[in-house]
């Protein structure tokens, strides 16, 4: 360790004491405008190529610079525009530059270090950048919903249709078996918490037995809280070669989110109002009976027959008003810029007493202090209210789709005279007397969250000359939330008394804090067009804390909602604390007239969750990109790139420790060794990634293609192997394997039509990834995702995919496919015709297995194998084949979805003037999300995971909350 510190100081000293002679200077002025329209461009960056001299344009698009004498090349650029270079003669004092809009986003700056950026023209990794327009094309509940289908190399899957999130983002395949599955989310330099907190639903559903909260509680991973409308860009670093600088948190990829900032100028106000609705998007299809069948099969009297009720529609058929109000104001002076935004939204759930609400306020302020110091302070305060109802696995008949599997549709569950009919069918079957309509009306499942995310970044210019700059950038930030959930299942519910304790309340209070501080010293050295060198050094400290307290009360007096009234009470607490420290150094060399970029970096990190908390693990990276100097016809640019890097994934919290299990018996404390073994020598798993690719642009920026091939190798794979039960052990903890993912990503951007009237932009992505466990130090084992290989499980074995699904039938165990899709594609199209705009996004996933246990609930209700699903032939076939000759509940989970459609029209400013408004760019929009799904999957939605986010176990469908589609009408205006 010591050697790094010495090295850092030596480099720092060298940088400070080298000095340049000041050349003779002159002043140039100019203006930057938009090509075609002549509109002035504020906040465009203007630099003298080959020097560190630069500035930004002011509100009126003008700039002035002190430059050395002689001929110069001036470079102007701004986000959303293609860069332009202009020769400036030795005597020239005025320069005007016009920039063309960068509709295909061929040129943006991407973060490559902590405080340094590089243009996409040079970057050596396949970094996907999503702009605010792409992100917010159609309103989405959460940011991860909004990213679906937009990133080549990402498989983004919702866990159920329950409102408010619960989405897994998997970048470049499965990269871990037992450590974290989540990418790292960084918002304005702050690592934000993406933990999924169970709300304690298990105490009601008994999905996992007992009182304790469980992964089957239909959890929401908390990145859902972020407000997508505040986001300027999202950069997706897909693997270790790009994310090495994030050390032992970069292995699953890094999602770098930058929020909007103010630009100097008059206050710009932007307002959007949306109204819409969510509706049930798919049903299982329940079976209707004739009166004669009902009498024969269920022994009812003909008078008891009431037709055929669509239970799914009755329970999930709500189309209540949803709305979203977004407003922002930004502006500022040359030294102070601000961006203030607010959001109020309510997504009404399709089931009574479900839904998702969010209110958020953001203030981003930038202040220039003198010429050397720039401060940027960003803060967001938000509240979300998530109500997800009851769904998913249960024991005893609590989930609505469980009840529907046993309640014939000729029975009317709807309330009469204010009271709900009892359910004699579930009762007779030995289960609880459950009328899901009563459950929806009386149960409350609010999860209230207040969250503050704030950061301050200080950029101090320590030294500036025309060849060198030295900047110190320091960011400190905190992400804190308090989550309080209160599940209330009142004693009046018909099923509540069944367990002997009428009424259940679960209170959860979770407090989570992430704090991090980093400082980077960046030195830039320029030797004209020959060489630009950026050296950065820094450190990062990170601290994570989480405390979750659950109190459960059962046997509650009517009307009481305080857990303390429970005759039977239980409580539990879990705590988590992680402390990390890392040092990093990076060198970027941009050479040969900005055609060759070489980067090398190392991050060295220790973490309290490692077996040896003092030991530093190093994550190097190196990359090169080269833009070909000689191009074939119609080609604007060709870039070859190769990148190599390592990143880690930390062991799960407390994995070094072997525990004693503490129990209570007759008021005494008991202890026994846990069956699960910790490992005091556990270390992070390390992924080593090599990616290479070609990017090319054609026809004056009308077409661009990106091709990337990568190989990601995960060593020291953290596994929890199944130990022999007969030894008294359950799970081990080992760095015991190796995994290799090979994949391809292709991005094709086209602007097929570009006229004054019609503009069509098309973006197609393709990606595939195939994983294989190439080493396993323990015997092959079943991952054990909950319901046994009779239905389907994942087997971990050498030489096979880590997500290989196996099933037992015909007396043996057979591999029946892979949970990972064969490939995924996204098709996004934006067509502008005059004032009209049409945008669409299609998301296609080919292959990938899902274990449909919901069907198992419904099948074989009758002796002929049929059940209460309308498709009786399918039920009969599955029932007959269950023990062979095929795995009937393992299904193909591929799909094609219309994720987004938006149609909008711009109202001419003339017209607004007529009605007396000064509003500009007023648009009326009709948009929809998840409008249509084509799939062979017979369940509600192949996007499903009963156990929430999982590395390899997200294949289980058990009576989930059904999917919904949404429609919104919006009006947006700028002032």
């Amino acid at each position: 360790m010591k050697k790094y510190r010495v090295l850092a100081l030596a480099l720092l000293a060298g940088a400070l004491f080298s000095s340049d002679a000041y050349a003779q200077q002159r002043r140039i002025t100019g203006r930057v405008t938009v090509a075609g329209t002549g509109e002035v461009l504020a906040s465009a960056a203007v630099n003298i190529v080959g020097t560190a001299i630069g500035t930004y344009t002011s509100d009126d698009g003008t700039f002035q610079l002190l430059v050395p004498s002689g001929d110069l090349t001036l470079l102007a650029r701004r986000v959303g525009f293609k860069r332009a270079t202009v020769r400036v003669g030795a005597e020239q004092a005025e320069v005007n530059v016009s920039l063309e809009r960068d509709v295909l986003q061929l040129e943006t700056q991407v973060v490559t270090g902590t405080a340094t950026t590089v243009s996409t023209q040079n970057v050596a990794n396949a970094v996907t950048v999503i702009s605010t327009n792409e992100l917010n094309r159609a309103p989405a509940s959460t940011i991860d919903n909004a990213l679906q289908g937009k990133i080549a190399g990402a498989v983004i899957t919702q866990n159920s249709g329950a409102p408010g999130g619960g989405v897994q983002v998997q970048l470049r395949g499965v990269t871990s078996l037992n450590a974290s599955s989540s990418p790292l989310y960084v918002v304005d330099g702050v690592v934000v918490n993406n933990a999924a907190i169970a709300n304690g639903l298990n105490a009601i559903t008994g999905a996992a037995g007992g009182n304790a909260p469980s992964s089957q509680d239909q959890m929401v991973n908390r990145v859902a809280d972020l407000n997508p409308n505040d986001i300027e860009t999202i950069e997706v670093l897909k693997g270790a070669s790009a994310g090495a600088i994030y050390g032992s948190r970069g292995s699953n990829g890094v999602i770098v989110i930058t929020t909007k900032r103010g630009r100097s100028g008059k206050p710009a106000v932007s307002v959007t109002q949306r109204f819409g609705t969510f509706e049930l998007a798919n049903k299982l299809g329940l079976r209707c009976f004739s009166q004669a069948e009902a009498v024969a099969l269920f022994g009812i009297t003909p008078a008891e027959f009431t037709g055929c009720h669509d239970f799914e529609q009755e329970l999930y058929g709500r189309r209540d008003l949803s709305y979203e109000s977004i407003a922002s104001i930004s502006g500022g002076s040359a030294t102070t810029q601000y961006f203030v935004s607010g959001l109020v939204k309510r997504d009404a759930g399709i089931e009574q007493n479900t839904g998702y609400g969010k209110q958020s306020v953001r203030i981003n302020v930038g202040q220039q202090l003198g010429t050397r110091l720039n401060l940027q302070a960003n803060a967001e305060i938000l509240h979300t209210l998530t109500e997800r109802g009851i769904s998913g696995n249960d024991n005893g008949g609590y989930a609505p789709y469980t009840v529907f599997s046993q309640t014939p549709t000729f029975y009317d569950l709807r309330p009469r005279g204010g009271s709900y009919p009892h359910n004699p069918y579930t009762q007779a079957l030995g289960g609880a007397d459950n009328n899901p309509l009563q459950q929806a009306a009386l149960t409350r499942t609010p999860e209230d969250l207040f969250r503050q995310i704030g950061s301050v970044t200080a950029r101090l210019s320590l030294f500036t000359s025309d060849r060198q700059t030295l900047d110190l950038t320091s960011t400190g930030g905190v992400d804190h939330y308090g989550l309080g959930s209160k599940l209330y299942s009142p004693p009046e519910l018909y099923y509540e008394p069944a367990d002997g304790y009428p009424g259940t309340i679960v209170d959860n209070n979770t407090s989570a804090t992430n704090a991090n501080l980093n400082a980077t010293l960046a030195h830039k050295f320029s030797m004209g067009s020959l060489l630009g060198a950026t050296t950065s050094l820094g450190f990062r400290r990170n601290r994570e804390q989480l405390q979750s307290i659950y109190n459960t009360g059962r046997n509650i007096p009517s009307g009481q909602t305080a857990v303390s009234y429970g005759v039977i009470q239980a409580s539990g607490e879990t705590q988590r604390q992680v402390k990390d420290l890392s040092y990093f150094a990076q060198e970027e060399l941009l050479m040969l007239n900005e055609t060759l970029l070489l980067t090398a970096a190392v991050n060295s990190e220790r973490s309290s969750v490692n077996g040896d908390p003092q030991k530093f693990y190093s994550y190097p990276k190196a990359s090169a990109s080269y833009r070909l100097p000689i191009l074939p016809p119609f080609t604007d640019g060709v870039k070859l790139r190769i990148a190599y890097g390592k990143a880690g994934n930390k062991p799960p919290f407390e994995s070094p420790y072997s525990n004693l299990v503490v129990t209570f018996i007759d008021n005494r404390i008991g202890e026994r060794p846990s069956r699960n073994l910790g490992n005091p020598n556990i270390k992070p798993e390390t992924s080593t990634e090599l990616e290479g690719g070609v990017d090319a642009q054609f026809w004056g920026g009308r077409a661009a293609i990106e091709y990337t091939r990568f190989r990601k190798q995960v060593d020291d794979l953290i596994i929890f192997p199944r130990l022999a039960g007969s030894t008294g052990y359950g799970l081990g903890t080992e760095n015991g394997g190796q995994l290799v993912n090979l994949g391809t990503e292709i991005g094709l951007k086209l602007q097929p039509i570009h006229t004054d009237l019609v503009d069509w932009i098309s973006n197609t992505t393709y990606s595939d990834v195939h994983g294989e466990i190439t080493r396993l130090d323990v015997p092959s084992y079943l991952y054990g995702i909950g319901f046994g290989a009779g239905y389907g499980d994942v087997r971990i074995r050498k030489g096979h995919s880590p997500t290989e699904v196996v099933a037992n039938f015909n007396g043996g165990e057979f591999a029946v496919g892979d949970a990972q899709p064969d490939y995924t594609m996204g098709f996004s199209n934006d067509v502008n015709v005059g004032p009209f705009r049409f945008a669409s996004l299609l998301d296609w996933r080919k292959g990938g297995k899902v274990v449909n246990l919901t069907n198992a609930y419904y099948d074989a209700f009758f002796a002929d194998g049929s059940g209460l699903l309308a498709d009786t032939a399918a039920s009969i076939s599955r029932s007959n084949d269950f023990q062979g000759p095929r795995a009937v509940y393992v299904e193909e989970g591929g799909f094609l979805k219309i994720r987004e459609i938006a149609v909008s029209v711009g109202i001419p400013e003339r017209f607004m003037g007529v009605v007396g408004s000064r509003a500009k760019d007023v648009r009326l929009e009709l948009s929809g999300r998840n409008l249509k799904t084509w799939t062979k999957y017979t369940g509600l939605d192949p996007e499903v995971s009963n156990f929430s986010n999982q590395n390899v176990g997200r294949i289980i469908d058990v009576t989930p909350f059904p999917p919904s589609r949404s429609y919104f009408v919006s009006v947006s205006a700028h002032f």
Binding site: R5, L9, L12, L16, N395, G396, T402, Q406, Q427, A428, L429, G430, G431, L460, G500, F539, A570, T574, Q577, V578, K579, L581, Y583, S608, V609, E654, Y657, N659, L660, V661, V662, T663, F664, I665, D666, R668, E671, R672, P673, R675, G725, S726, T727, G728, Y729, G730, P779, S780, L782, G784, G788, A789, G790, D793, N808, F861, A863, D864, S879, Q883
Partner: protein
């Protein structure tokens, strides 16, 4: 000036870096005590905690599955769970799974107790006799080994001819997988070594265990007393094991075991019981609904008693109160319909007492019937009749049976076994898999002796399957490379 400013920045940065590096990097185990707590010798206090942990684990292992699955295989009970058809399906229709909560259960937890016990015994070796005296150590060892034997026996009950791994030398190593004959022999010898320790402790003046025990050990008899524990529980369990060694599986019974069983059971039972209280003597699992505690696992609204069990109880049998007649419930598990009007009284959640109702681990009532089985095994039908009638008259409140004589196609021995099984069924209803073990041992777990529950599917033949044991779980089989065939050394 400018340079001083820069030095200050550099110094501050270097300082911050150093401070960052010096901050403690360690986070302790926040959510559970670490096993490092077990470093060093045992103390009275740590023995208390570890014994309480062990007893609690025995109690938790004997959960719903333990009480239900065996009774389901024996066709005495159903569990109708609308969300989980495998409670029925794996018992009545399909082979038990190697991977499910049903078929792969009744295994891991028991070995967890065995390992916890081995930990205590190993730690005792490092404990000076000044802290815990040698006779006290003997009492602790005897107690722990008796419970280890009980847990091995629970594995054996459920795994039978499919094998029971036993490794007495070091339970943390992979041990051989034994066939019933060898498994029972090993368990029997473990009980004997415990017996020797317990007797030695008493001889050296240790009358009560050097730790406190939960109230289940004093509800019926005082099992905190080392002698009572040794005689009634250790010897009682020894007798139980020897009875099944005597009967054997597949004609490999050890005839001499019946004598060993009778001797052990005589010690355990003492004078012939004359009251229900005496029949109820034994250690019990006790339950509580207090936070962190474990409520009675069969206080469960989904449990049912087979219609035939309710219908065939003899008129006047006091044990009929264990079965409550209610509404007909019918359940469909993968196409097969099961129905019954009977509920176990101990399962009714409408009776709050059921949540804390203790369950006997091994009661004298069972011991008396086991002695009858040993006597039947020896051909002593007169002696067997006496034991059977002890239970029949006291527990059942029924008239004593006349001497067993051959009836129709049944031999006198078969008549005796039938009579015995009647008493066992109603005396021990939902107290464990005793009936499964008996039906298996007497080769009666088949269509010749048990009526069909459902009509098998004419095409697939599925339905009404007679399962007798669980497979070695897939996880264990995977570690052993699939080599799980039992051996009979």
């Amino acid at each position: 000036m400018r340079y001083h400013y820069r030095y200050a920045i550099v110094a501050a940065l270097a300082g911050a870096t150093l401070v960052a590096a010096c901050e403690s990097a360690t986070v302790p185990d926040l959510n559970a005590p670490s096993t490092t707590e077990l470093a060093g010798p045992l103390t009275q206090a740590s023995v208390q905690r570890l014994v309480s942990g062990l007893v609690d684990n025995v109690r938790r292992n004997a959960g719903l599955g333990y009480f239900y699955f065996g009774e389901a295989f024996a066709r005495d009970a159903y569990r109708f769970d609308p969300s989980e058809s495998r409670y029925i399906y794996e018992a009545y229709t399909s082979a038990p799974s190697r991977t499910s909560f049903f078929g792969a259960s009744q295994y891991n937890g028991f070995y967890g107790t065995i390992r916890a016990g081995t930990t205590i015994i190993k730690k005792l070796k490092d404990t000076p006799t000044t802290t815990i005296s040698a006779p006290e150590q003997a009492a602790i060892r005897g107690f722990v080994r008796t419970f280890q034997a009980l847990e091995y026996y629970h594995v054996e009950e459920y795994h039978d001819t499919l094998g029971t791994p036993i490794q007495l030398a070091d339970s943390s190593k992979l041990g051989p997988i034994y066939c019933p004959k060898s498994a029972l022999a090993a368990i029997s010898s473990l009980l004997d070594s415990a017996n020797i320790d317990l007797a030695a402790a008493v001889a050296a003046g240790v009358t009560t265990f050097p730790f406190e025990l939960p109230s289940g050990f004093v509800v019926n008899g005082n099992f905190t007393d080392v002698t009572t524990f040794r005689k009634t529980f250790n010897r009682g369990l020894k007798g139980k094991v020897e009875v099944y060694r005597g009967i054997g599986r597949n004609n490999d019974g050890v005839a001499s075991s019946f004598d060993v069983a009778i001797a052990a059971l005589d010690t355990a039972i003492g004078p012939t019981p004359t009251t229900m209280a005496q029949l109820n003597v034994g250690p019990y699992f006790q339950y509580s609904t207090a936070p962190g505690e474990f409520p009675n696992p069969i206080a469960d609204q989904n449990l049912r008693i087979n219609q035939r069990v309710g219908d065939s109880v003899q008129a006047g049998d006091l044990r009929a109160s264990k079965i409550v007649k209610g509404d007909l419930s019918s359940y469909t598990a993968r196409g097969f319909k099961y129905q019954t009007q009977y509920y176990p009284a101990v399962s009714l959640t409408t009776r709050p007492a059921n949540f804390v109702n203790p369950i006997g681990i091994l009661r004298v009532e069972e011991l008396v019937l086991l002695r009858a089985q040993a006597k039947i095994g020896k051909g002593d039908l007169v002696g067997a009749l006496q034991d059977i009638n002890t239970v029949r008259t006291i527990s059942g409140g029924l008239a004593p049976l006349p001497p067993f004589v051959a009836t129709g196609t049944l031999t006198a021995t078969q008549v005796a076994i039938k009579a015995l099984l009647y008493e066992k069924r109603y005396s021990l209803l939902l107290e464990g898999p005793q009936r499964l073990v008996d039906l298996r041992a007497y080769k009666m777990l088949n269509a010749a002796n048990l009526p069909k529950e459902v009509v098998p599917n004419p095409i697939t033949g599925a339905g009404d399957r007679f399962n007798s044991a669980f497979f070695i779980p897939q996880s264990e089989s995977d570690v052993r490379g699939g080599n799980v065939a039992p051996v009979c050394p």
